[in-house]
């Protein structure tokens, strides 16, 4: 009898808790499909992008969870698809707009990485800028830190974080050194955000980059310094970000890489946004850590926002890559991105 009573109490408590949590748990998703025409190969490709599942849950008055997992194509997987945990963040709101957080985050290095994550629906262009594609910035960091947002009249935001650093897995660091992230932004007027960040890391060991590349690295001291201006209002959209990355080694000294992009869009008749973007990545001669090549890219496109959960983008890209033997590529993209 006592066991039955205890079971009943336990079940009712569980159901009550489930109901409370369910009430404040939100599950959303994003997906994109598209097509591109490669002029050099004279080939039309159909593409399935990423399926992004996104969960937020208020576990209590002060504790919340945010998770983002992505299903995407992987040539090395037997099923040709992989599941990737992109973000898993526990947040404790300890005072007003100040939080303690722990988990795997998109490193708060720049506006794009801190804002758009994996939701193509939110991307102003079809893809990420070149400084992402060439692994200039550390996309993810697993660790803990403090953050704040919308503080005072200037709406100041900050992130201070300690993490495993480049080359680490989600379970363990690959060396004894930690990485440190310091980011500051403020929004002096509605729609405008100015930001700057510093990322410091000592890289040593086997490094897997976000694109699936693997390399052996010995004692690289990395300092990544970034700045951004973002202005998004009804008519005008403007985003410019620049990063300077200094990789220092005992053998070849300091080598500096510069990467930047600028985006400009102008809204016409509520739903249409023609846009342009310019990307530039410039490696110093003798750079050992990065394996990319100097790249310039020009992008022009049109975004049609059907509703707040559906966007269609048409885009043309012209890319010039290399130092002595330049490679020119032309691509035309159509992307259909939705949220659900």
């Amino acid at each position: 009898m006592r066991i039955k009573l205890l079971s009943l109490i336990f079940i009712s408590c569980f159901l009550n808790l489930s109901a409370q949590i369910k009430d404040k748990t939100v599950i959303r998703g994003f997906i994109d499909i598209g097509t591109n025409y490669d002029y050099e190969k004279e080939r039309l490709n159909f593409q399935f992008g990423e399926q992004d599942l996104f969960i937020t849950s208020d576990l209590s008055d002060k504790i919340s969870f945010l998770g983002e997992s992505v299903l995407k194509y992987s040539p090395t997987s037997p099923t040709k698809f992989d599941i990737s945990l992109e973000r898993a963040i526990f947040k404790y709101n300890y005072f007003k707009n100040h939080n303690f957080f722990a988990g795997k985050v998109h490193t708060a290095i720049n506006y794009w990485n801190d804002t758009y994550h994996h939701g193509r629906l939110f991307f102003p262009t079809v893809g990420r800028p070149e400084l992402f594609n060439q692994n200039i910035i550390s996309l993810h960091t697993t660790g803990f830190g403090l953050s704040g947002q919308d503080l005072g009249n200037l709406k100041i935001g900050y992130t201070i974080m300690v993490g495993n650093g480049l080359g680490s897995t989600d379970l363990a660091d690959n060396n004894a050194e930690k990485c440190y992230v310091f980011a500051l932004n403020f929004k002096p007027i509605d729609g405008l955000r100015l930001g700057g960040s510093v990322y410091l890391d000592k890289i040593d060991g086997v490094v897997h980059d976000h694109g699936g590349g693997v390399k052996q690295v010995h004692n690289v001291n990395q300092g990544l310094y970034s700045g951004s201006i973002a202005y998004f209002k009804k008519k005008i959209e403007f985003l410019a970000e620049a990063s300077s990355c200094q990789n220092a080694t005992d053998s070849i000294g300091v080598k500096t890489t510069y990467a930047a992009y600028g985006y400009f869009g102008f809204r016409i008749k509520d739903a249409f946004v023609p846009y342009v973007r310019y990307d530039n990545v410039d490696y110093q001669k003798g750079e050992m850590y990065f394996t990319g090549v100097n790249t310039e890219m020009f992008t022009v496109g049109l975004r049609y926002e059907v509703n707040y959960l559906t966007t269609i983008k048409l885009e043309y890209q012209y890319k010039k890559a290399g130092t002595t033997n330049l490679i020119f590529t032309n691509n035309f993209f159509v992307q259909f991105a939705i949220g659900f």
Binding site: T56, I89, K96, K234, E305, Y308
Partner: protein
């Protein structure tokens, strides 16, 4: 040299942005579409009795996480597909329904705020506000019940 080029680019961008601003106008409400106007209804715990419009916007946009007494602020609205929701988006947020929905989706996706609660009926919305501490929401003035607060000295906005 290259650093100077990039920094110059950022500065030029900033100047372009600043030069595109329209002159500031005084904050006020557009004419209401909902008969009798809108009312701001709050749970009895946490919220003040009166609030300026500028502060109301900050709170409803999820930029302030707690009331002064430490109670967590929860947002509850009519769906933007309803007349009240559409009117609220336009007159309080200065956005279309589409823009407001996208704004909240993006803020939640960025981990900046908890997802607001949206309702089809005013009755359900008012019940939710009454039963959940720290909640603030917007209803029509004529159907408002419970604790309503003044915005810039007005109960009906």
């Amino acid at each position: 040299m290259r650093a100077i080029v990039y920094i110059s680019g950022l500065v030029i961008g900033l100047l372009l942005v600043l030069s595109s601003f329209a002159p500031a106008t005084a904050e006020n409400f557009a004419e209401p579409q909902v008969e009798g106007g809108l009312a701001v209804v709050v749970n009895s715990k946490g919220a003040p009795n009166e609030i300026p419009l500028s502060k109301l916007k900050v709170i409803l946009k999820g930029e302030q996480q707690r009331w002064k007494d430490g109670t967590k602020i929860t947002l509850a609205f009519m769906k933007t597909s309803t007349g009240i929701g559409e009117d609220m988006a336009k007159r309080i947020f200065g956005m279309t329904a589409k823009e407001l929905n996208k704004y909240f989706l993006a803020q939640v996706f960025q981990g900046k705020m908890s997802s607001p609660q949206f309702f089809d009926s005013e009755e359900d919305l008012l019940k939710y506000i009454k039963n959940n501490e720290g909640t603030i929401g917007v209803t029509s003035f004529k159907n408002a019940s419970g604790t309503t607060i003044s915005v810039d000295g007005k109960k009906a906005i």
